[in-house]
Amino acid sequence: MNMTAIFINALAVVCLFFALIKDRTKTKQALKMAVISFFRISPTVLAIILIIGLFSGFVPESQISKVVGENAGFRGVLTVAFLGAILHIPSLVSFPLAASLLEKGASITSIAVFITTLTMIGMVTLPLEIRILGKKLALLRNGLSFIIAIIIGLIMGAIL
Protein backbone atom coordinates (compact mmCIF):
# COMPACT_ATOMS: atom_id res chain seq x y z
CA MET A 1 0.00 0.00 0.00
CA ASN A 2 1.56 3.29 -1.02
CA MET A 3 1.51 6.65 0.78
CA THR A 4 -1.21 8.14 -1.39
CA ALA A 5 -3.60 5.28 -0.77
CA ILE A 6 -2.97 5.54 2.97
CA PHE A 7 -3.57 9.30 2.83
CA ILE A 8 -6.85 8.95 0.94
CA ASN A 9 -8.15 6.28 3.29
CA ALA A 10 -7.11 8.28 6.34
CA LEU A 11 -8.88 11.34 4.97
CA ALA A 12 -12.05 9.32 4.42
CA VAL A 13 -11.89 7.94 7.96
CA VAL A 14 -11.38 11.41 9.48
CA CYS A 15 -14.24 12.92 7.47
CA LEU A 16 -16.45 10.00 8.36
CA PHE A 17 -15.63 10.46 12.04
CA PHE A 18 -16.58 14.16 12.05
CA ALA A 19 -19.69 13.48 9.98
CA LEU A 20 -20.79 10.88 12.53
CA ILE A 21 -20.39 13.38 15.35
CA LYS A 22 -22.30 16.04 13.45
CA ASP A 23 -25.24 14.06 12.15
CA ARG A 24 -25.78 10.34 12.41
CA THR A 25 -28.69 9.95 10.01
CA LYS A 26 -27.07 12.10 7.32
CA THR A 27 -23.88 10.07 7.60
CA LYS A 28 -25.84 6.86 7.22
CA GLN A 29 -27.44 8.32 4.10
CA ALA A 30 -24.00 9.27 2.76
CA LEU A 31 -22.66 5.75 3.35
CA LYS A 32 -25.65 4.29 1.57
CA MET A 33 -24.95 6.57 -1.39
CA ALA A 34 -21.29 5.51 -1.30
CA VAL A 35 -22.20 1.81 -1.49
CA ILE A 36 -24.65 2.40 -4.33
CA SER A 37 -22.21 4.50 -6.38
CA PHE A 38 -19.45 1.97 -5.73
CA PHE A 39 -21.49 -0.79 -7.32
CA ARG A 40 -22.72 1.61 -9.98
CA ILE A 41 -19.20 2.48 -11.16
CA SER A 42 -17.67 -1.01 -10.71
CA PRO A 43 -18.58 -2.43 -14.15
CA THR A 44 -17.00 0.56 -15.90
CA VAL A 45 -13.90 0.39 -13.71
CA LEU A 46 -13.47 -3.33 -14.40
CA ALA A 47 -14.00 -2.86 -18.13
CA ILE A 48 -11.45 -0.04 -18.36
CA ILE A 49 -8.92 -2.02 -16.32
CA LEU A 50 -9.36 -4.94 -18.71
CA ILE A 51 -8.90 -2.61 -21.67
CA ILE A 52 -5.72 -1.21 -20.09
CA GLY A 53 -4.40 -4.76 -19.71
CA LEU A 54 -5.22 -5.65 -23.31
CA PHE A 55 -3.65 -2.40 -24.44
CA SER A 56 -0.39 -3.08 -22.69
CA GLY A 57 -0.32 -6.64 -23.99
CA PHE A 58 -1.27 -6.09 -27.60
CA VAL A 59 -0.40 -2.51 -28.56
CA PRO A 60 3.35 -2.06 -28.86
CA GLU A 61 4.90 0.92 -27.09
CA SER A 62 6.25 2.29 -30.33
CA GLN A 63 2.69 2.53 -31.64
CA ILE A 64 1.46 4.44 -28.58
CA SER A 65 4.35 6.88 -28.58
CA LYS A 66 3.91 7.40 -32.31
CA VAL A 67 0.34 8.59 -31.79
CA VAL A 68 0.55 10.39 -28.46
CA GLY A 69 4.27 10.53 -27.68
CA GLU A 70 6.81 13.35 -27.61
CA ASN A 71 7.35 13.14 -31.34
CA ALA A 72 3.71 13.00 -32.35
CA GLY A 73 3.71 16.79 -32.59
CA PHE A 74 0.74 19.09 -32.54
CA ARG A 75 -1.37 16.69 -34.54
CA GLY A 76 -1.04 14.13 -31.74
CA VAL A 77 -2.13 16.73 -29.20
CA LEU A 78 -5.16 17.65 -31.31
CA THR A 79 -6.08 13.98 -31.67
CA VAL A 80 -6.14 13.33 -27.94
CA ALA A 81 -7.96 16.60 -27.32
CA PHE A 82 -10.73 15.48 -29.69
CA LEU A 83 -10.79 11.99 -28.18
CA GLY A 84 -11.17 13.47 -24.71
CA ALA A 85 -13.97 15.75 -25.86
CA ILE A 86 -15.94 12.98 -27.55
CA LEU A 87 -15.40 10.04 -25.20
CA HIS A 88 -17.77 9.67 -22.30
CA ILE A 89 -15.87 7.82 -19.59
CA PRO A 90 -16.02 8.75 -15.89
CA SER A 91 -13.06 10.92 -14.94
CA LEU A 92 -12.23 8.63 -12.00
CA VAL A 93 -11.50 5.85 -14.46
CA SER A 94 -9.52 8.08 -16.82
CA PHE A 95 -6.60 8.39 -14.41
CA PRO A 96 -5.47 4.74 -14.45
CA LEU A 97 -5.90 4.83 -18.22
CA ALA A 98 -3.74 7.97 -18.41
CA ALA A 99 -1.14 6.42 -16.10
CA SER A 100 -0.85 3.33 -18.28
CA LEU A 101 -0.46 5.45 -21.42
CA LEU A 102 2.22 7.51 -19.68
CA GLU A 103 4.07 4.32 -18.75
CA LYS A 104 3.95 3.23 -22.36
CA GLY A 105 5.54 6.38 -23.73
CA ALA A 106 2.77 8.94 -24.10
CA SER A 107 3.87 12.52 -23.51
CA ILE A 108 2.89 14.56 -20.43
CA THR A 109 1.27 17.11 -22.74
CA SER A 110 -1.06 14.65 -24.39
CA ILE A 111 -2.04 13.05 -21.08
CA ALA A 112 -2.83 16.42 -19.49
CA VAL A 113 -4.79 17.52 -22.55
CA PHE A 114 -6.72 14.26 -22.61
CA ILE A 115 -7.75 14.43 -18.94
CA THR A 116 -8.68 18.11 -19.20
CA THR A 117 -10.86 17.84 -22.30
CA LEU A 118 -12.39 14.62 -20.99
CA THR A 119 -13.57 16.31 -17.79
CA MET A 120 -14.35 19.82 -19.06
CA ILE A 121 -16.02 19.09 -22.37
CA GLY A 122 -19.07 16.93 -22.83
CA MET A 123 -20.16 16.36 -26.41
CA VAL A 124 -22.75 13.89 -25.16
CA THR A 125 -24.24 16.40 -22.72
CA LEU A 126 -23.86 19.43 -25.01
CA PRO A 127 -27.51 19.41 -26.22
CA LEU A 128 -28.66 19.40 -22.60
CA GLU A 129 -26.24 22.19 -21.72
CA ILE A 130 -27.52 24.29 -24.65
CA ARG A 131 -31.11 23.74 -23.58
CA ILE A 132 -30.47 24.74 -19.97
CA LEU A 133 -27.84 27.47 -20.29
CA GLY A 134 -28.44 28.79 -23.79
CA LYS A 135 -26.51 28.31 -26.99
CA LYS A 136 -24.07 31.15 -26.48
CA LEU A 137 -22.83 30.19 -23.01
CA ALA A 138 -22.69 26.46 -23.75
CA LEU A 139 -20.76 26.81 -27.01
CA LEU A 140 -18.38 29.41 -25.59
CA ARG A 141 -17.67 27.28 -22.53
CA ASN A 142 -17.00 24.09 -24.47
CA GLY A 143 -15.03 25.84 -27.21
CA LEU A 144 -12.80 27.82 -24.87
CA SER A 145 -12.32 24.76 -22.65
CA PHE A 146 -10.90 22.97 -25.67
CA ILE A 147 -8.38 25.75 -26.21
CA ILE A 148 -7.34 26.10 -22.57
CA ALA A 149 -6.98 22.32 -22.28
CA ILE A 150 -4.37 22.43 -25.04
CA ILE A 151 -2.62 25.42 -23.44
CA ILE A 152 -2.55 23.68 -20.04
CA GLY A 153 -1.15 20.54 -21.66
CA LEU A 154 1.57 22.43 -23.53
CA ILE A 155 2.65 24.30 -20.38
CA MET A 156 2.73 21.05 -18.40
CA GLY A 157 4.79 19.37 -21.08
CA ALA A 158 7.22 22.28 -20.98
CA ILE A 159 7.72 22.42 -17.20
CA LEU A 160 7.42 18.76 -16.12
Binding site: N9, M33, L133
Partner: protein, 184 residues
Protein backbone atom coordinates in the same frame (compact mmCIF):
# COMPACT_ATOMS: atom_id res chain seq x y z
CA UNK B 1 -39.34 12.70 -11.12
CA UNK B 2 -37.38 10.58 -8.71
CA UNK B 3 -38.73 7.42 -10.21
CA UNK B 4 -37.73 8.55 -13.68
CA UNK B 5 -34.15 9.20 -12.67
CA UNK B 6 -34.05 5.80 -11.01
CA UNK B 7 -35.22 4.15 -14.21
CA UNK B 8 -32.62 6.09 -16.15
CA UNK B 9 -29.99 4.88 -13.69
CA UNK B 10 -31.07 1.30 -14.21
CA UNK B 11 -30.78 1.73 -17.97
CA UNK B 12 -27.29 3.16 -17.54
CA UNK B 13 -26.28 0.22 -15.38
CA UNK B 14 -27.50 -2.26 -18.00
CA UNK B 15 -25.48 -0.38 -20.61
CA UNK B 16 -22.36 -0.48 -18.41
CA UNK B 17 -22.79 -4.21 -17.73
CA UNK B 18 -23.13 -4.79 -21.45
CA UNK B 19 -19.93 -2.82 -22.03
CA UNK B 20 -18.15 -4.92 -19.40
CA UNK B 21 -19.53 -8.14 -20.92
CA UNK B 22 -18.34 -7.25 -24.41
CA UNK B 23 -14.91 -6.22 -23.12
CA UNK B 24 -14.65 -9.46 -21.16
CA UNK B 25 -15.66 -11.54 -24.20
CA UNK B 26 -13.13 -9.76 -26.42
CA UNK B 27 -10.44 -10.26 -23.77
CA UNK B 28 -11.19 -13.98 -23.43
CA UNK B 29 -11.16 -14.54 -27.19
CA UNK B 30 -7.92 -12.58 -27.65
CA UNK B 31 -6.17 -14.37 -24.80
CA UNK B 32 -7.28 -17.79 -26.11
CA UNK B 33 -5.93 -16.89 -29.54
CA UNK B 34 -2.65 -15.51 -28.21
CA UNK B 35 -1.72 -17.49 -25.11
CA UNK B 36 1.71 -15.86 -24.96
CA UNK B 37 0.01 -12.50 -24.23
CA UNK B 38 -1.81 -13.84 -21.18
CA UNK B 39 0.94 -13.06 -18.72
CA UNK B 40 1.52 -9.35 -19.57
CA UNK B 41 -2.20 -8.59 -19.95
CA UNK B 42 -3.22 -10.22 -16.69
CA UNK B 43 -0.35 -8.81 -14.65
CA UNK B 44 -0.95 -5.29 -15.94
CA UNK B 45 -4.70 -5.46 -15.28
CA UNK B 46 -4.08 -6.94 -11.87
CA UNK B 47 -1.75 -4.10 -10.90
CA UNK B 48 -4.28 -1.42 -11.80
CA UNK B 49 -7.09 -3.37 -10.18
CA UNK B 50 -5.18 -3.51 -6.89
CA UNK B 51 -4.48 0.22 -6.97
CA UNK B 52 -8.14 0.92 -7.67
CA UNK B 53 -9.42 -1.37 -4.91
CA UNK B 54 -7.18 0.37 -2.38
CA UNK B 55 -8.70 3.79 -2.98
CA UNK B 56 -12.13 3.42 -4.58
CA UNK B 57 -14.15 2.71 -1.40
CA UNK B 58 -12.58 5.70 0.38
CA UNK B 59 -13.22 7.96 -2.62
CA UNK B 60 -16.84 6.84 -2.77
CA UNK B 61 -17.31 7.55 0.95
CA UNK B 62 -15.90 11.07 0.50
CA UNK B 63 -18.20 11.68 -2.46
CA UNK B 64 -21.21 10.44 -0.50
CA UNK B 65 -20.38 12.69 2.46
CA UNK B 66 -19.98 15.76 0.22
CA UNK B 67 -23.24 15.06 -1.55
CA UNK B 68 -25.21 14.79 1.68
CA UNK B 69 -23.58 17.59 3.68
CA UNK B 70 -23.34 20.21 0.91
CA UNK B 71 -26.76 20.32 -0.73
CA UNK B 72 -27.32 22.26 -3.95
CA UNK B 73 -29.45 25.06 -2.50
CA UNK B 74 -26.59 26.04 -0.19
CA UNK B 75 -24.44 26.60 -3.27
CA UNK B 76 -27.06 28.76 -4.95
CA UNK B 77 -27.52 30.77 -1.75
CA UNK B 78 -23.84 31.61 -1.37
CA UNK B 79 -22.93 32.09 -5.02
CA UNK B 80 -25.93 34.18 -6.01
CA UNK B 81 -24.72 37.20 -4.06
CA UNK B 82 -20.93 37.02 -4.11
CA UNK B 83 -18.79 39.07 -6.46
CA UNK B 84 -15.25 40.14 -7.29
CA UNK B 85 -12.14 38.03 -6.74
CA UNK B 86 -13.71 36.55 -3.65
CA UNK B 87 -16.71 35.53 -5.70
CA UNK B 88 -14.69 33.73 -8.33
CA UNK B 89 -12.69 31.78 -5.76
CA UNK B 90 -15.85 30.94 -3.87
CA UNK B 91 -17.33 29.71 -7.15
CA UNK B 92 -14.34 27.43 -7.75
CA UNK B 93 -14.44 26.22 -4.15
CA UNK B 94 -18.16 25.54 -4.29
CA UNK B 95 -17.79 23.72 -7.57
CA UNK B 96 -15.01 21.53 -6.21
CA UNK B 97 -16.97 20.13 -3.29
CA UNK B 98 -20.21 18.54 -4.40
CA UNK B 99 -20.06 15.53 -6.64
CA UNK B 100 -21.96 14.05 -9.49
CA UNK B 101 -21.63 14.34 -13.25
CA UNK B 102 -21.47 17.73 -14.95
CA UNK B 103 -25.08 17.68 -16.11
CA UNK B 104 -26.20 17.82 -12.48
CA UNK B 105 -24.53 21.24 -12.30
CA UNK B 106 -26.39 22.73 -15.29
CA UNK B 107 -29.67 23.39 -13.43
CA UNK B 108 -27.70 24.94 -10.56
CA UNK B 109 -25.93 27.19 -13.04
CA UNK B 110 -29.26 28.11 -14.61
CA UNK B 111 -30.64 29.01 -11.17
CA UNK B 112 -27.57 31.16 -10.55
CA UNK B 113 -28.02 32.89 -13.90
CA UNK B 114 -31.60 33.72 -13.01
CA UNK B 115 -30.51 35.05 -9.64
CA UNK B 116 -28.20 37.46 -11.40
CA UNK B 117 -24.87 35.91 -10.47
CA UNK B 118 -21.93 37.03 -12.62
CA UNK B 119 -21.29 34.99 -15.73
CA UNK B 120 -17.59 34.67 -14.90
CA UNK B 121 -18.53 33.07 -11.58
CA UNK B 122 -20.96 30.68 -13.20
CA UNK B 123 -18.36 29.56 -15.75
CA UNK B 124 -15.79 29.15 -12.97
CA UNK B 125 -18.31 27.14 -10.98
CA UNK B 126 -19.14 24.84 -13.90
CA UNK B 127 -15.48 24.30 -14.79
CA UNK B 128 -14.55 23.57 -11.20
CA UNK B 129 -17.42 21.12 -11.00
CA UNK B 130 -16.15 19.46 -14.16
CA UNK B 131 -12.49 19.11 -13.37
CA UNK B 132 -11.42 20.23 -9.89
CA UNK B 133 -13.39 17.68 -7.91
CA UNK B 134 -11.62 16.79 -4.70
CA UNK B 135 -12.15 13.00 -4.88
CA UNK B 136 -11.05 13.19 -8.50
CA UNK B 137 -7.85 15.00 -7.55
CA UNK B 138 -7.15 12.24 -5.03
CA UNK B 139 -7.39 9.56 -7.70
CA UNK B 140 -5.17 11.68 -9.93
CA UNK B 141 -2.68 11.89 -7.06
CA UNK B 142 -2.71 8.11 -6.71
CA UNK B 143 -2.11 7.33 -10.36
CA UNK B 144 -0.18 10.28 -11.76
CA UNK B 145 1.72 11.60 -8.77
CA UNK B 146 1.85 14.78 -6.72
CA UNK B 147 3.77 16.94 -9.19
CA UNK B 148 1.44 16.20 -12.08
CA UNK B 149 -1.68 16.67 -9.98
CA UNK B 150 -0.62 19.97 -8.35
CA UNK B 151 0.65 21.50 -11.60
CA UNK B 152 -2.50 20.63 -13.49
CA UNK B 153 -4.68 21.85 -10.62
CA UNK B 154 -2.94 25.25 -10.40
CA UNK B 155 -2.93 25.76 -14.17
CA UNK B 156 -6.59 24.78 -14.35
CA UNK B 157 -7.59 27.27 -11.64
CA UNK B 158 -5.70 30.08 -13.40
CA UNK B 159 -7.13 29.34 -16.82
CA UNK B 160 -10.64 28.77 -15.54
CA UNK B 161 -10.58 32.29 -14.08
CA UNK B 162 -9.27 33.69 -17.36
CA UNK B 163 -11.90 31.77 -19.32
CA UNK B 164 -14.72 32.96 -17.06
CA UNK B 165 -13.66 36.59 -17.50
CA UNK B 166 -13.30 36.26 -21.27
CA UNK B 167 -16.71 34.62 -21.68
CA UNK B 168 -18.31 37.27 -19.50
CA UNK B 169 -16.79 40.03 -21.64
CA UNK B 170 -17.92 38.34 -24.86
CA UNK B 171 -21.47 37.88 -23.58
CA UNK B 172 -21.69 41.46 -22.31
CA UNK B 173 -20.21 42.83 -25.54
CA UNK B 174 -22.47 40.82 -27.84
CA UNK B 175 -25.42 41.73 -25.63
CA UNK B 176 -24.62 45.40 -26.25
CA UNK B 177 -24.28 45.06 -30.02
CA UNK B 178 -27.23 42.74 -30.57
CA UNK B 179 -29.62 44.61 -28.36
CA UNK B 180 -31.15 42.68 -25.52
CA UNK B 181 -30.77 38.96 -25.93
CA UNK B 182 -31.99 36.54 -23.32
CA UNK B 183 -30.08 33.38 -22.59
CA UNK B 184 -32.78 31.17 -21.29
Amino acid sequence: MKKMSKEKQKKGLVKDMLFLGITLAVAVVLLLMFPEKREPVISSSKGFLMEMILILPAVMILMGLFAVFVPNDVIVKYLGRSSGIKGIFLAIFMGAFPTGPLYVAFPIAAALLKKGARISNIIAFLSAWACIKIPQELVELQFLGLKFMITRLLLTVVFVIVMGTVIEQIVLWSGKTNGHEQTS
